[in-house]
């Protein structure tokens, strides 16, 4: 598969006091036909990275190649073939959906029929409605439609479903899947795990301006060692009970198929390969130690667990981890 985007050792430092190192040496490669997700918490440098790839920001150092071309030399040739949707663009409120698409279409040499694009994003009925009268989800679909109307080979989507209700999110996912079925490439950023898991073939987990893990969602989860997670709390469920046990975590790691153990907000989390073998042993141990169980759950491991393991905190934690 030919590569569509290639970044090498990308660095972006914003001047100031102190200077902000938004991207600190980032490499990635996106191949044709895949949906590539940059997953990371807010402020990880995802938007800076995607804007460098879109040719809207110049990197402090490093190289970017998009569709085999470089920004600064063949900008128009690249722009003709990519579609971009920002995290936030306020399109003109007084223009109708159709008028907005006609406007964006005029910029491209090759373009799709706006009627067809409206069909794809389910806005045909709203063709004559002013943008100002659309709901949040409809506006976001129109933003994606503006990216699609140039019939792009590569689609950049920055946080495409942030702030949308569940139904609108599913509609957008469907639009992205349909676009991909035509063999086209998508690069998106997201801080939603479910979005990355459901939509992306390849995920790069970004934290503090660096890629800390890369692979298919499945590979990343498997890399945890166990694909299942058992979480439980002891005693009355207060943090104190859990903290008291810190020294005994070692005890749990010796249970069958347990790959790793960590504490998370007072819960004890076991990463396990085969929960049906771990659970009976766990319950036996608790009983023999006279530790009362106050809650217990099992679930499949997710990309969140991957992030927690690598970054030492949750995706939606704003604070940097202690130590």
């Amino acid at each position: 598969m030919p590569s569509v985007i290639r970044c090498q050792d990308l660095v972006k430092t914003y001047e100031g006091r102190p200077p902000v190192e938004a991207v600190r040496g980032l490499d990635l490669e996106v191949v044709e036909g895949e949906c590539f997700g940059l997953l990371g918490p807010n402020g990880a440098g995802k938007t800076t990275t995607i804007e460098i790839m879109e040719g809207l920001l110049a990197p402090t150092s490093g190289t970017v190649e998009v569709l085999g071309r470089q920004w600064g030399r063949e900008d128009d040739a690249i722009r003709q073939r990519i579609g971009i949707s920002f995290q936030e663009t306020k399109l003109s409120e007084k223009l109708s959906v159709r008028e907005t698409l006609d406007l964006f279409r005029s910029f491209y040499k090759q373009s799709s029929d706006p009627a067809q694009v409206m069909e794809q994003v389910e806005l045909t009925e709203k063709a004559k409605t002013w943008v100002g009268k659309l709901s949040g989800g409809q506006k976001q679909r129109l933003a994606v439609a503006c990216a699609l109307v140039g019939d792009p080979e590569l689609l950049f989507l920055d946080e495409p479903t942030t702030g949308l209700d569940p139904k609108s999110r599913r509609q957008l996912w469907e639009i992205i899947r349909n676009y991909r079925q035509r063999g086209r490439t998508v690069l998106l950023t997201t801080h939603y795990l479910d979005e990355a898991e459901r939509l992306c073939d390849q995920v790069a987990i970004v934290d503090r301006g660096k890629v800390i893990a890369k692979g298919t969602p499945r590979e990343l989860i498997v890399s945890l060692g166990g694909e299942h997670v058992i979480e439980f709390t002891l005693g009355d469920g207060s943090n104190g009970a859990g903290d008291g046990l810190a020294g005994d975590l070692d005890l749990f790691s010796r249970l069958p198929t347990v790959q790793s153990v960590h504490m998370d907000h007072g819960r004890i989390c076991l990463s396990v390969g085969e929960p049906h073998r771990t659970l009976p042993a766990l319950l036996n141990t608790l009983e023999s130690q006279h530790w009362p169980l106050s809650s217990l759950s099992t679930r499949h491991a997710s990309l969140e667990d991957v992030f927690v393991k690598l970054a030492g905190r949750h995706l939606d934690d704003d604070e940097a981890p202690t130590a």
């Binding site: 030919p2 590569s3 569509v4 290639r6 090498q8 044709e32 879109e54 809207l56 190289t63 190649e65 569709l67 085999g68 071309r69 470089q70 128009d76 040739a77 722009r79 003709q80 073939r81 971009i84 920002f86 936030e88 663009t89 306020k90 399109l91 003109s92 007084k94 223009l95 008028e99 006609d102 406007l103 964006f104 279409r105 005029s106 910029f107 491209y108 040499k109 090759q110 002013w130 503006c146 140039g150 080979e153």
Partner: protein, 368 residues
């Protein structure tokens, strides 16, 4: 990194010829259409741009309308002969006469309720006139009252005089005002129409969004200018037609010269609007800048009264402000029927402003 490893799909793109497009499908046409739609779908903007200048003409035209000379208000100070004086003046319909005592007369004079106080003093009798020499109407009152009293006392004019009334328009305040308002409207429309809209698009990240497409920057800036020109046509027509038919304002110059000055003025102020908007990141910032640019011209450039009234020291600066040459040239052409050639100095100043503001704006324009 090599450029050699180009994905195969790019070849199809390279080979594709630019499709033939209908005029309205071209970027310039679409951008202009979008701007016009945005403007005309905003009722407040339309109101301010089109209705405001008309309200201004109506208000000022009525306040300063030329009327047949009003009554001369004259007070006769009670005392010897006051009755005789009052009687003599009352016989002339031009005068509105009131008799009061010295204190009241002085008060009425000071507060502008009367224009002249007459009293008879001494022996032989002398008519004494009290008035404020800095008020033109007082001076007029003194002359006409004195004439009437002297005639009543038996003066005979050595030469007979007759009157022929002149009613041609062109010298009234409203005639003077229309070119001023036209210039003001071109200034406001250009600065607000271009400047505000541009900054608004920058704030909404629409400029950045356009930058992310293959749109040519030149197309965008030209479209902003062109749409401003198109918005200006009805604006100017409304103003000129209203002045013509509601106030009977006559235009003495050629329409071609007028059109040339209007287009030049609109171009100049669109350029200034672009310049003012080229860096501003908030609407507050651009509003402040806009007012700072316009305020001196509102006061100094001769919209409501001629700029000659300001002291000679300030004239070199005033004459170089963008609005001054526009209004001067408009007045000459509209009221005096001057040729464009006679206005070449004013035209040159405007040309320099247009060129400089565009060149600088394009250089420092911030897209995101």
């Amino acid at each position: 990194m090599t450029v050699a490893e180009t994905p195969p799909s790019s070849q199809t793109f390279e080979a594709a010829p630019e499709p033939r497009r209908r005029f309205v499908e071209r970027p310039m046409a679409q951008l202009v259409l979008a701007r016009l739609r945005e403007f005309f779908r905003e009722p407040e903007a339309v109101f301010w741009v089109y209705v405001f200048p008309i309200l201004m003409i109506v208000g000022l035209g009525i306040a300063f309308r030329n009327q047949p000379a009003e009554h001369v208000i004259v007070d006769v100070q009670s005392g010897p002969q006051s009755e005789a004086i009052a009687k003599a003046l009352s016989a002339d319909s031009r005068f509105q006469v009131k008799t009061c005592d010295a204190d009241e007369c002085r008060l009425r004079l000071r507060t502008g309720k009367t224009q002249l106080v007459v009293s008879a003093v001494g022996s032989p009798v002398t008519y004494q006139y009290q008035f404020d020499p800095s008020r033109p109407e007082n001076v007029v009152a003194r002359e006409s009252v004195n004439g009437a009293l002297q005639q009543a006392a038996g003066r005979v004019d050595p030469v007979k005089s007759s009157e022929k009334l002149f009613t041609e328009t062109g010298g009234r305040y409203v005639d003077f005002l229309v070119p001023g308002l036209l210039g003001m409207s071109l200034m406001g429309g250009g600065l607000w129409g271009v400047g505000f809209a541009t900054v608004d698009m920058r704030i909404r990240k629409l400029l950045k969004r356009f930058l992310a497409t293959p749109m040519r920057k030149g197309d965008f800036l030209s479209a902003i200018m062109l749409s401003r020109m198109l918005c200006m046509i009805p604006e100017v027509l409304v103003l000129l037609l209203f002045a013509r038919y509601a106030f009977g304002v006559n235009y003495y110059g050629s329409y071609a010269a007028l059109l040339f000055l209007i287009v030049l003025g609109a171009t100049m102020f669109s350029g200034l609007g672009l310049l003012v908007a080229s860096r501003a990141k908030t609407l507050e910032a651009v509003s402040g800048l806009m007012n700072a640019v316009m305020l001196p011209m509102w006061m100094l450039s001769g919209i409501f009264f001629t700029s000659d009234r300001f002291p000679a020291v300030a004239q070199p600066v005033i004459q170089l402000l963008p609005l001054t040459p526009l209004i001067n040239a408009l007045r000459s052409v509209m009221l005096e029927g001057s040729s464009l050639a006679s206005q070449s100095g004013q035209i040159a100043i405007m040309g320099v402003w247009s060129a400089v503001s565009f060149a600088v704006a394009l250089r420092i324009f911030r897209w995101q």
